[in-house]
């Protein structure tokens, strides 16, 4: 247990110590080597990098150097990332073998290791994080501490104003004032639908019932989205603190966080955070000496996309199959064990402490008229810079794809961007300048979703993409209601027919009928939005569907049944790239001469198309 004063003392002391993390002009003798320990970089051996650094530093008996594991820095495609503070040197794609060089050259000799510096979009080498174009248009609120602090150290969180918002709320605000602040800030649910957060809190507070619950939805199921996980991995306390605040606001004293078991690092860090908070008395009985009690437990999701739907999530916490309930009644009135329950997602919670500390007006000054604040996106697909980005609402898609994302690689053209995952839609070129917010995305047939943003180049077949999403939905449909269970399956079958070249125009009619009626009849958001990928691709890329049906053609060659991979003799320079990379040795040709593909051997994997430097293969 720590008293208010003790926490304040930790804050002051630690903040001073950590000044070099945020201030590059401190004349400090100390150096911090920050290594990203998020899932992305962990996949490319960042734990080994951390160990190697520590080993070398110990061996060489270097003083005043600390190796810190942090959360995600955002630029995942350049990982593993190492940043050295206070000078803020940004090293990209570091391997364990590079550690020795970094220590010897950078730490000991004070010289930059040039070849490990990150290349910016224009090809120039950039020394520090802030000068990378990737970061220039970003504004970090939810991700503020990610990549700055050690997520497993509560003192570091406290140093950067951690638990100050809780203090303010518990000692100086009434629950109504808290709710009013959130309401005024204009914060809306970041899970996808964008329901006003303050209103949700208000509804739960007003619901009758003594026992209430706060639930954090961390069941990020959108394939290709990892915003929530990164927040939990990089700054778990910010979410925990917000849950406690929410508990105070709605008069609940028990919280649950529902995290996918597939996120072991996030789970572990959050559990550590809970333990630390309990130790400090920030969770448990009489928090800050008030009569407010609150505790949080972790519940693991076990791999069902539908559990991101709030009522399915509740069923899952209760130990059942994650099958959504018919709404109304809404969770605010009948949630967990049919008690009033507030459910917000991770990113929503991550904004709360900043709003409390900086005020509603500050927050509502960011963003567009109806969508306030920032949004975190997991930018992926055919784009140069893949990673996590946080931008003010209203940033255009073009800015994200080109300025932050660095555009499309391999000299390809932008074809579409997909937001909202399997529930969202494809946004074509003509809407690149749409400012991103809840309403505008809906208007152009997509949705905000939880923040997956996948860019596609012109080698991607939109019918095939729709099929991909439908196969996902069919896989993940809980099977409870008829339209989703059977309807989406039928849609997938129709799409398969189309991509096989076996469809007739009537099949397209059927597809559209289903796409229109399933949303009206399905129980939950998953079913209701399942046809969106089809509807939006039909809206913007109808001619591709018709090509598949009428001419049995797929212009990208992605639909294998329709594709014959061919080498354009006019473009082929005989470089041999395709031949060398073909996994089944289907390509032959003399160096410098036009190559050919043996159709009987070709498995249509498309490797050759991807590697051909002259775009000669289609």
């Amino acid at each position: 247990m720590k008293t208010l004063e003790e926490i304040e003392a930790i804050r002051t002391k630690k903040r001073k110590e950590l000044d070099i993390r945020v201030n590059s002009n401190v004349g400090s003798k100390e150096k911090h080597i920050l290594v990203c320990h998020g899932t992305g970089c962990t996949s490319s051996k960042s734990p080994e990098i951390i160990n190697t650094f520590r080993k070398i530093i110990k061996e060489k008996q270097i003083k005043n150097v600390r190796v810190i594991q942090t959360g995600c820095f955002g630029l995942c495609s350049k990982g593993p990332i190492v940043i050295i503070r206070p000078e803020d040197t940004f090293y990209a794609m570091v391997t364990p073998e590079d550690c020795k060089e970094i220590v010897e050259k950078h730490i000991i000799e004070g010289k930059i290791v040039e070849h490990l510096l990150c290349k910016d979009i224009d090809g120039s080498k950039v020394q520090n994080l802030d000068s990378l174009t990737f970061y220039k248009k970003q504004k970090r609120i939810a991700l503020k501490n990610c990549g700055v602090i050690d997520p497993e150290n509560i003192d570091e969180y406290i140093a950067f104003d951690g638990y100050k918002a809780l203090e303010k709320v518990l000692l100086h605000m009434t629950p109504d004032e808290v709710i009013e602040t959130i309401e005024k800030s204009g914060l809306r649910g970041r899970g996808g639908a964008g329901f006003p957060t303050g209103k949700k809190w208000e509804l739960t507070r007003r619901a009758t019932g003594k026992q209430k619950y706060v639930v954090c939805n961390a069941d990020e199921g959108d394939p290709g989205a990892f915003m929530d996980r990164s927040i939990l991995e990089g700054d778990p306390h910010s979410v925990l603190e917000a849950m406690i605040i929410a508990g105070y606001a709605i008069c609940a004293n028990q919280g649950y966080i529902y995290v996918r078991a597939e996120y072991p690092i996030a789970v572990e860090r959050f559990k550590i955070a809970i333990e630390q908070a309990r130790k400090y008395g920030l969770l448990g009985k009489n928090i800050f000496g008030t009569d407010f009690d609150f505790d949080v437990d972790v519940r693991l999701g076990a791999g069902a996309f539908v559990c991101g739907e709030e009522t399915a999530l509740l069923e899952s916490i209760e130990g059942k199959r994650g099958q959504p309930r018919v709404k109304p009644p809404y969770p605010a009135n009948q949630g967990l064990w049919f008690k009033p329950t507030l459910i917000n997602n991770v990113e929503t919670f991550a904004n709360v402490t900043r709003i409390i500390l900086n005020g509603a007006d500050w927050y509502s000054s960011i963003g567009t008229e109806n969508s306030k604040g920032t949004k975190v996106f997991a930018l992926g697909g055919n784009v140069v810079n893949i990673g996590l980005v946080e931008v003010p609402m209203g940033t255009t898609l073009r800015e994200i794809v080109y300025d932050i994302g660095g555009g499309i690689p391999n000299n390809r053209d932008f074809k579409a961007a997909q937001t909202g995952g399997p529930s969202g839609g494809c946004i074509p070129k003509e809407h690149l300048d749409t400012p991103i917010d809840y309403e505008s995305l809906k208007q152009i047939g997509s949705m905000m979703g939880s923040g997956g943003l996948i860019v596609m180049d012109d080698t991607k077949c939109m019918v095939n993409l729709a099929k991909f999403y439908l196969s996902f939905t069919v896989d993940e449909s809980c099977g409870k209601c008829t339209p989703c269970r059977i309807g989406t399956k039928r849609m997938l079958e129709l799409l398969e027919k189309i991509t096989q070249g076996e469809a007739e125009l009537e099949d397209l009619e059927k597809l559209e009928e289903l796409a229109v009626n399933i949303p009206k009849t399905a129980i939950c958001g998953l079913g209701q939005s399942a046809p969106n990928p089809v509807l939006s691709t039909l809206k913007y890329f109808r001619e591709e569907y018709l090509e598949h049906i009428k001419y049995k053609q797929c212009r990208t060659g992605e639909c294998k049944a329709l594709a014959k991979i061919q080498i354009d003799p006019g473009k082929c320079k005989g470089c041999g790239m395709c031949k060398r990379n073909c996994p089944v040795n289907a390509i032959s040709g003399e160096p410098g001469k036009v190559h050919t593909i043996d159709e009987s051997v070709c498995i249509g994997c498309g490797t050759c198309i991807a590697v051909c430097p002259f775009h000669a293969i289609n």
Binding site: G479, C481, K489, R490, E493
Partner: protein, 584 residues
């Protein structure tokens, strides 16, 4: 109870006033506006899965699920707007696209809720054809056949099994299109914790669940001139059989039933009610003895085979509390193959006893090893009320037009006490009538025991017999049985006599009785009607106490000796065994 405030709304331009908490569906049906349903089943299942009951509510985005959505003040509902109809058509089409559609050869042909909707919506073809789920038919058990190729995943059976009966032998498994209702590990029902109560069959709107057919073997034996085929009919059959021929629910068709059975070619038509009288003789005697000696109290009835299997699986430590009496039809079978056979000079092995039962579990009970005497089964075949109706239809008998005939003598005479065996509380009442007279040795002043009547799931009472008080409890539905067993187990109750029937309402609502559609179950109290018919039979009976049955008195005197005596024990009593819930 405070009265609920009334809510006013408009459904299809009709003003409706209903109490708060009513659903749109209930409100609509109240004013004779029908909304199609599939997954909804009154008091059992309201989960909004099938989506057939969607309606339009003015000012609301999306459709409302009328089986769940409660009415609100000034709500304006449209139950069949063009948009609703279009959506329902799609839903129905999708369900049919994943259905076997072999209606002509389906056992539910003519009584299928899906088929009825297809007719209603004038389905001429299936637009969204596609792959179908293929399931192996499970016919391993002696009682229930599961053909999940006909399942529409309404989950009414799951709720009946899990929520009402608290068994959970079946549940939804897998996910998405592969979802189905199944057992653990997709094992046969035979090898899991199923009690064969058959409530799942009663709940099923299609032909996915039905009883294991025994009519073929009955026909076979009827055709064999060497075999003496005897049939006995349970008390609950006569008050429901008529429904299968379009007669009103709760019509007593005993006379027509006997005529039909004779026409079918049975050599003798007897009444299981007489068997019930035997049971009471034995059970009341057993109770009086155990009550006096305070031996293994509470004593629990044992005439319900699903309950017996349930306690064998779930509370084996209480098996000594079960009455050792066989169930009425088994007792009757035993008497037929011994006393009657000797009297009529028929080789017992040439007698084929058929029991017509309202019950599915009797099919399981019949083949238990304990139900053999001198190496032959007491009963050779069990058919349900529905199977009997099918046989009558096959024989082209115009059931409704039949004259009444009486049961064959000497075994056809039964008392009113035997008649009420088919309703919850009936066994208790019959036993109390006899036990009272056995204890007090005085004639009963009041024959009716109103305390144990009615459709309540649990009925507790303290009955005064002479100077003594007997604490009793009557429960129907295995969910209620569980409650009672837990009370007893935790020492929270000191009952002396417990009656359990596995089916909610008793045998008149048994798994083998005519199946009523969701809509009928919503609007008519089927259990009440059938049970009223039973009590009427009792009221009109000349003899209303089992031990006063002259047939019984004669047989005990001539053959069995004393009730509870040695021979009676050999023939009319049995024993039980602990059973594993899961045997794989």
């Amino acid at each position: 109870m405070a009265e609920l405030p009334m809510i006013h709304l408009t459904i299809d331009n009709k003003k409706v006033e209903v109490p708060k908490g009513t659903t749109i569906l209930q409100a609509a049906r109240k004013v004779n506006i029908d909304i199609p349903t599939l997954c909804y089943l009154k008091e059992i299942n309201a989960i909004g899965d099938c989506r057939m009951c969607i309606t339009e509510v003015e000012g609301r985005k999306g459709f409302a699920t009328s089986c769940i959505q409660q009415v609100e003040e000034d709500m304006v509902v449209h139950t069949h707007s063009p948009a609703v109809i279009e959506a329902r058509k799609m839903i129905l089409d999708l369900i049919l696209s994943n259905h076997h559609r072999d209606c002509l050869t389906c056992e539910k042909n003519g009584n299928c809720e899906l088929q009825a909707l297809a007719v209603k919506f004038n389905v001429q073809g299936v637009r969204y054809e596609g792959t179908k789920n293929e399931h192996k038919v499970d016919d391993k058990s002696p009682a229930i056949v599961r053909d999940f190729n006909k399942c529409i995943l309404c989950r009414r059976c799951v709720s009946a099994c899990k929520k009402v009966q608290k068994i959970g032998a079946i549940d939804a498994v897998n996910r998405g299109f592969a979802s189905c209702v199944s057992t653990v590990g997709d094992n046969s029902l035979n090898d899991v914790n199923c009690t064969f109560c058959g409530q799942c069959i009663q709940a099923c709107p299609t032909g996915a669940l039905h009883e294991k057919d025994s009519t073929e073997i009955v026909w076979e034996n009827l055709r064999d001139p060497e075999t003496f085929v005897v049939v006995q009919t349970a008390p609950a059959v006569r008050v429901a059989l008529g429904e299968e021929f379009g007669m009103p629910i709760g019509t007593n068709v005993a006379g027509k039933m006997v005529t039909a059975l004779k026409r079918l070619g049975f050599d003798k038509v007897f009444d299981t009610n007489t068997g019930a009288d035997f049971t009471i003789m034995e059970e009341a005697t057993e109770f009086v003895k155990r009550f006096k000696e305070n031996d293994n109290l509470p004593m629990m009835t044992s005439c319900c085979p699903a309950w017996v299997k349930y306690i064998e699986m779930n509370y084996p430590e209480y098996l000594p509390h079960l009455s050792s009496c066989k169930s009425p039809h088994e007792m009757f079978g035993a008497v037929l193959k011994t006393y009657y056979a000797t009297k009529q000079k028929i080789n017992p092995e040439k007698i084929f006893v058929v029991s017509v039962m309202p019950c599915i579990a009797k099919k399981f009970e019949r083949q238990r090893e304990e139900m053999k005497d001198n190496g032959v089964y007491d009963v050779d075949a069990v058919i349900t009320t529905r199977e009997l109706a099918r046989m009558i239809k096959q024989a082209n008998i115009e059931f409704v037009e039949l004259e009444d005939e009486g049961f064959d003598n000497p075994m056809g005479e039964a008392t009113g006490a035997g008649a009420i065996f088919g309703v919850t509380g009936g066994v208790m009442e019959a036993a109390l009538r006899t036990a009272s007279e056995l204890i007090t040795k005085k004639p009963l002043e009041k024959i009716n025991f109103e305390e144990v009547r009615g459709q309540k799931g649990i009925k507790r009472a303290t009955i005064k017999i002479g100077e003594k008080e007997v604490k009793i409890v009557v429960a129907s539905g295995l969910g209620n049985a569980e409650k009672i067993m837990e009370e007893i187990k935790k020492g929270k109750a000191d009952y002396q006599f417990v009656e359990i029937m596995a089916c909610p309402g008793g045998c008149i609502m048994g798994g083998g009785e005519p199946i009523k559609s969701s809509k009928i179950r919503e609007t008519i109290d089927v259990a009440k009607k059938r049970s009223e018919a039973m009590y009427t039979i009792d009221e009109k009976s000349k003899v209303r106490l089992s031990h006063k049955n002259p047939v019984l008195q004669k047989i005990y005197k001539e053959y069995l000796g004393e009730p509870g005596g040695k021979l009676a024990h050999e023939l009319l009593h049995t024993h039980y065994q602990k059973r594993e819930k899961y045997s794989f």
